[in-house]
Structures are given as structure tokens and as C-alpha cells.
Amino acid sequence: MAYVLPRSYPLREITALIRHSGFFFFVLMNKIVRKRQLSDAVFRMEIEAPLIAEERKPGQFIILQVEHDFGERIPLTIADADLQAGTISLIFQTVGATTKKLAALNEGDFIADLVGPLGLPTHLEKVGTVVCVGGGIGVAPLHPIVQGLKEAGNKVIVIMGARNKDLVILEDEMRALADEIILCSDDGSVGRKALVTEPLKELCESAEKPDLVVAVGPPIMMKFCALTTKPYEVHTIVSLNTIMVDGTGMCGGCRVTVGGETKFVCVDGPEFDGHLVDFDNMMKRLASYKDIEHKASHTCKTEELLKRGGKS
């Protein structure tokens, strides 16, 4: 059983505590300093993690666990970091057991285990015009990438897709960063009534053909974004969200086929050349535990939402 102790707890006393009872465990805990709800199923949390805040780069993620002994390890992208405050921001959608348990925590609570930053950082350089496509919750991982691409001196056009008006996240943050924003929704309740691939195709055909496309979102969206840009030969980077366990290259659970070769998303990625990724295999692998997880998370409503959000 994990023992909840704040970071400032004097180490000497902890050691003494352990000497008394062989079972207690000292774990550095990560305090939630701020929590906000961005939409029906999307939350943003700022968490104390000074070392990660210092080291992290755009494109990297953490793995966390809400409960020490029986919890599941889930990966979440570092959406932002505040070096001064020593905090990182996570933005997540409640889709299953762990994300729901996480959403139930409040400011002042601690996250049992949190490790990072993991994965390779985004390769950021000045290439000219970059189109960044974010679908649903994918807008969150896209945020630090847009930040980095701007800092590198690129012109950045952001295409944001959501199922409807209420599910749009980070619009203000993106507007503050990007040179141009194209908002799309499935039902037309906000922005254009279109799938993100529509404006993407137009941009590829326009005079200002992008030099690079970055697409982050549900696998099905990334697959179609890659298919859209392929005929125009626009280099397209996607950020893959496979199932993970350790996140350090030890288990191979996160493996995907890229250009006919097996790659580990947690150490070789999470970003890959979208034109080379075998999305169909990846999507099937993501569904490995579908039957079991349905049992674990009794309400399947949000999951359905995510799946349909996948078409945005």
C-alpha cells in the first residue's frame, strides 16, 4: 500500500517510519495545484513536477498511475510546462477507468506515480509554412508542438476539428499562437461544417502549399490526413497513441509497423512519418483489450463519444 506523503516531508522521518513497519513505501507524490474542466469530458491539470518541467520538450509525454498497487499506467502528453512554478500541464479526456479516476482527483490531491518526460522530442526547425491539424483531444498534444514550431520561426496554420461547439478546447491558446486558425465541426455548430481533411486538402492545393503537416488526433483522423497529403507529397508527421506499459522500450507493447519495420512508439516516437505508418494494424492493436475494458469502465458513453469524435 502506498503511503501519501507530500514532497516536503523530511526524509529522515520517512526512513524512520519505514523502519517501524516493513510494509510502508515512500513515494514522491505529484501534487495537483490546479484543475479545470475544459469541456464535458476534458480536463486540464497543473501538477507539481519540477524536474520534468525543466527537462521536457515539445512532443514528449509522461506516464502516470492514479493508484500505486493496482492502478494502470497511462501515457499523457505534456501539454505545457511552467519552469518557474515547477509544474506541468496535462489535458486529458475521460475515456476509461484510469482517466475517470484521474478526473475525480481535486486540487491539493496527489497523483500516486508520475514519470517522464518520455519519448523523443518533436524535431523542430524552420521549414516555412506548417499546417497543424488537431482533432478532438489531439489539440492538447498539438499545443506544445505549435509553440515550438512558432519559436523556430515558422508560419503555422492550425486546423482544429471537434464534433460540436462544446467539445472545442484550447481555442484561445491556439489563437494566441498560430498565424491562422481554421475551425471545423461535424455539425456546423462552430466554424466550418467539415472534416479536418477538407481544409487540409485545400491548403495542399493552394498557392501556399505547406512545407510540413503535423496531425495529432484519433488514429482514424491521422490516417486520413496522411492519405490527404500523400498525393501532394507533403511531409506529414503524426503522433501515435498506442497502448503502453513501461514507456521506456522494455515491453514492446507499443509497437507499430512503420515502413514495414517494427518501431516502439515510446522510444522511437511518438512521432512518425504518417505516410509510412500502418494505421489499420495500429487501430486493431489499440482495441486489444476492448472486451475487458468495457467491463472495467461501466459507462461507455464517453468512449462512444471518443470513437465518434474520431471522425471529426
Partner: protein
């Protein structure tokens, strides 16, 4: 093998012990005539349904009788057979006298993890391989059961509750970072801490213990034993920081330059699963043994009611490989409810690197062995889930570089195996993360860290040992390397 219950073995040993003690001094002939004590174990049918320890450990009478089989050889070949040169005859003599405290004290002069090594050492290829009793009886399996005796006294001490903390010298003010928390690192942390240095262990996972925790299953090595070793480190004042990936959370150079660590030990193990690069290996239902075992052991997926981490539910499982990892995966799959578990191995039974006891246990539990067989491809259904595996039969040819006869495929012998899960257990390479993030650290072409005979790497103050240096090896070798490196580090820090 028929199963003899614990009570029966205990009663028999009691009678034998009385007889032997009544008889007076034993001649070598009398000693070799004493029957080897069978390890009490859970019945094979019962244990298939639980995660509890299979081998239950000798009773005190069994231990004493077994200890009396030792001839106390003058040249003691067994000592040289042990990678850390435990004074085997001396500890066994103590057990024969009933002095268990004396026995464990002898072992602890050289080994820090006797409860672990007594359980998982491949004794039949190390200390017991050269035992004189085995030679006299012309059967290595009849050697003195050194490992079981080692386990007995280690367990005895733990059960007494009062395992004493080693003496720790006055603080030197020097700081040492130990990366990883497997057997190599545990050994270094203890030995360096004893010399009065401040030690921090950095572990990537949320729980310390390395392969002892996430790889080797509970039914072979109870996690409570690993936990106790970690608790001892903590009680000695070693700080253990979990959820810390060196190379990502912090790089080695920063640990030394920014955080003031005077020396570093790298014990990150061999954690990069090898696959076979065959068609169908990325289908749903194909796992590395690392993933499968980590889900079950570390994430406790076997506890279906409590664990959030899922594990694949399988009916028919194929495990590829013939080492300890393959045995552990196969036996875990059985315990998780698979109806059939097939172990597919390229060579023949005698070449299997797994411990003999594990192979026996796996067989008793119903794992089906397919020797001289190798998969060609894995076939999937329309949902990309494993549907079957195509295999090829092999025959043995000339010996290869390793001295083992090379398996040669038999043309046209292809056949299909009906399975829904495939677990790949053909070995691990070293994890490249530390190498990639530590400029100046010399690696060999297989990605292992290059060290000199004292465990020193190409970087000043940085040492390494265990699987990251040896390639996937054994617990006792990792521990031995740790010992050596710790001595060199203590010497380096005293300069």
C-alpha cells in the same frame, strides 16, 4: 514424478535424522548413501490455479539431513563453481550441526541476496555441477542441494524477523547515484552505503526490484522477499527514487555536475525485447514475454478483480523460446487460465538454457513441449487477432560456435498450430537509452557498456555491471559484478 506431500517428507526426514545421529560419526560412504531430500512442493494440479510459491522449502530436519550428504571436500570444487565463491562446505557444515545462524552468516560474507539466489540460481550449471557427491553418484541431479540449503537458511533468518542491519561507517559526505534497482544495483547500494557514502537509487518503474519484481513471477520468487531486501536498503539510509528515468528525467552528466553525485553505477539491465521479425508478429495477441510478465507481475493483472491493467485472455498459447523467461511466461499463461500452453523451442531438450527445476515444474503443470520446432509466421483473422502459427520442424546438425549442435530446418515439414496467443521469449538486448543520452560512454557493438575488470566505464567516476554489461545473464552474476564495482567505487571515492 509422483507428488509427495510435505508432511510425509518431513516425517521421513525426522526418522532419517534420528538414525544418522544415533549412528555416530559418518564416513564418506555413509554420506553418499543418504538419499537426497526432495523439495516439498505444491501439487501440480493445485498450483496451476494459483500464483503461490511452487517450491515450499526444506523443513529443518530435511535441511540437516541434506547437509550431512556433503563430504566437506578439502579442495571444495563447489566454491569455484559459484560465481561469488560462497564458502559452501563451511555454511553447509553449520546447517548439519543445526546452527542456522552460523550458516547464514557464512553466506552473507559474500552474498547479499541468498533468499533470491537460493531460489533462482541455475545451480546445476554452477556450484552443483562440480559437486563431488554428484560425481560419485554419476548424476549431477544427485549433487548436494546447495541452492536449497542456501534458501533454507536465508528463509530461516527472515522468519526469525531479526535480520540485523550491517554496520555503516561514519558519513564521508560523498554522494553516489545507482541507476536501476535490480540485483546488481541492490548489491552496489548496500556495499557503497556501508562504506559511509550517501546513496540514491534511481528506478524507472514505480516499484524497485528490477527483473526480480517485474520479470520473475511470484510462484518462483515471492515479491515479499524482494520487498524485504529493498526495505533493508532503506533502513540502511539508502534513498530510493522511483519514477525516475535516468537519461530522460535527468542525464548522467547532470546528476554529476548539477546534483553533485561523485560517482555513478549503471545497472539498467537488458531491457529491450527481441522479436523474430517474422510475418504476423504485430498481430493482436502477440506479446513479448517482458510485456506479458510485467502486466501479470508488476501490474498485478492476474488479480482480475482488483487490477486496472488488463491481460489478454487466452485459450491456446504458444511460447517461443527455451530459457527461464519462456518457462515463466508459459507457466504464467497456465495460471491465467489458458487451456493449452505450447512451448516451441528450436533446439532439443538438452540445449534448453532454463533451470532444470523450472522445466520439470512446467512439464508437471501441463506445458506441452515442441522441440526442434520453429515458427515461420503467425496468421491472423479478419480482426488482425492471432488465429494460428505456422511452424517448421528441425533436426540437429554440426556444432556451431556456441558448441551446441546447430538446428537445420527440414524442408517441407511445415505444419500449423492452432493458437490464439503467441508470447515471444527469445531474449533481450540492452536498452539504448543511457548510451544515447550519455556522450563519451563506450558501448560494444551489441550495445552493452564496456567496462574494465573493476567495472569502470570509459567515463571518470562512472561504473556499470549486471545485464547491461554482460547481456542477459543471471542474478548471481549481476550481484557478483555489483560487488566488484562497489569495491572499486569505494576505493575511487576514498582517494
Amino acid at each position: 514424478m509422483s507428488h509427495t506431500p510435505l508432511v510425509q517428507l518431513e516425517a521421513a526426514a525426522k526418522a532419517q535424522l534420528e538414525q544418522i545421529l544415533a549412528k555416530g560419526p559418518l564416513k564418506p560412504k555413509d554420506r553418499t548413501a543418504i538419499p537426497q531430500q526432495e523439495m516439498p512442493s505444491q501439487d501440480a494440479l493445485d498450483r496451476r490455479g494459483n500464483m503461490h510459491q511452487v517450491a515450499l522449502g526444506y523443513t529443518p530436519e530435511q535441511a540437516r539431513v541434506e547437509a550431512m550428504r556433503c563430504l566437506q571436500c578439502k579442495n571444495a570444487p563447489c566454491i569455484a563453481g559459484c560465481p561469488v565463491n560462497i564458502d559452501i562446505p563451511r555454511f553447509i557444515a553449520r546447517i548439519a550441526e543445526g546452527d542456522y545462524r552460523g550458516g547464514i552468516d557464512v553466506i552473507k560474507e559474500t552474498s547479499v541476496l541468498p533468499a533470491v539466489c537460493g531460489r533462482v540460481c541455475p545451480q546445476e550449471t554452477q556450484c552443483q555441477a562440480v559437486c563431488t557427491v554428484g560425481k560419485v553418484l554419476k548424476d549431477v541431479d544427485l549433487s548436494v542441494s546447495i541452492g536449497r540449503l542456501e534458501r533454507f537458511v536465508a528463509d530461516w533468518e527472515r522468519e526469525q524477523g531479526a535480520s540485523e542491519l550491517p554496520e555503516i561507517l561514519a558519513s564521508t559526505g560523498k554522494k553516489v547515484a545507482v541507476i536501476g534497482s535490480g540485483p546488481a544495483s541492490i548489491t552496489v547500494a548496500a556495499d557503497v552505503r556501508r562504506a559511509g557514502h550517501e546513496v540514491t537509487v534511481f528506478e524507472a518503474f514505480h516499484k524497485p526490484g528490477g527483473v526480480l519484481l517485474y520479470g520473475i513471477p511470484e510462484f518462483r520468487l515471492p515479491k515479499q522477499i524482494v520487498q524485504q531486501e529493498i526495505d533493508t536498503l532503506r533502513a540502511m539510509g539508502v534513498e530510493i527514487r522511483t519514477n525516475f528515468v535516468v537519461g530522460r528525467t535527468r542525464k548522467i552528466h547532470d546528476l554529476m555536475q548539477k546534483d553533485g553525485y561523485d560517482a555513478v553505477f549503471i545497472g539498467t539491465g537488458a531491457g529491450l525485447p527481441r522479436f523474430m521479425n517474422m510475418e504476423g508478429e504485430n498481430l493482436v495477441g502477440v506479446f513479448s514475454a517482458n510485456e506479458y510478465l510485467t502486466r501479470s507481475n508488476l501490474m498485478r493483472a492476474y488479480d482480475l478483480d482488483r487490477a486496472d491493467t488488463p491481460i489478454y485472455s487466452s485459450r491456446k498459447v504458444a511460447v517461443l523460446g527455451g530459457g527461464n523467461v519462456a518457462m515463466d511466461a508459459a507457466r504464467t499463461a497456465l495460471r491465467l487460465g489458458a487451456e493449452e500452453v505450447h512451448l516451441v523451442y528450436r533446439r532439443s531438450r538438452t540445449e534448453m538454457p532454463a533451470r532444470v527445476e523450472e522445466v520439470q515444474h512446467a512439464e508437471e503443470e501441463g506445458v506441452m513441449f515442441h522441440f526442434l520446432t520453429n515458427p515461420v509466421q503467425i496468421l491472423g483473422d479478419e480482426d488482425a487477432r492471432v488465429a494460428s502459427m505456422e511452424c517448421l520442424r528441425y533436426e540437429l546438425g554440426e556444432p556451431d560456435a556456441s558448441g551446441r549442435r546447430r538446428p537445420i530446418p527440414i524442408e517441407g515439414s511445415n505444419f500449423k498450430m492452432d493458437v490464439d496467443t503467441v508470447i515471444v521469449a527469445i531474449g533481450n538486448n540492452s536498452n539504448p537509452l543511457i548510451g544515447q543520452t550519455t556522450p563519451g560512454l563506450e558501448l560494444n557493438k551489441r550495445g552493452n557498456i564496456v567496462v574494465d575488470e573493476s567495472g569502470k566505464t570509459s567515463l571518470e567516476g562512472v561504473y556499470a555491471g549486471g545485464d547491461i554489461v554482460l547481456g542477459a545473464a543471471t542474478v548471481i552474476l549481476a550481484m557478483g559484478e555489483g560487488r566488484k564495482a562497489a569495491a572499486a567505487m569505494n576505493e575511487y571515492l576514498s582517494r
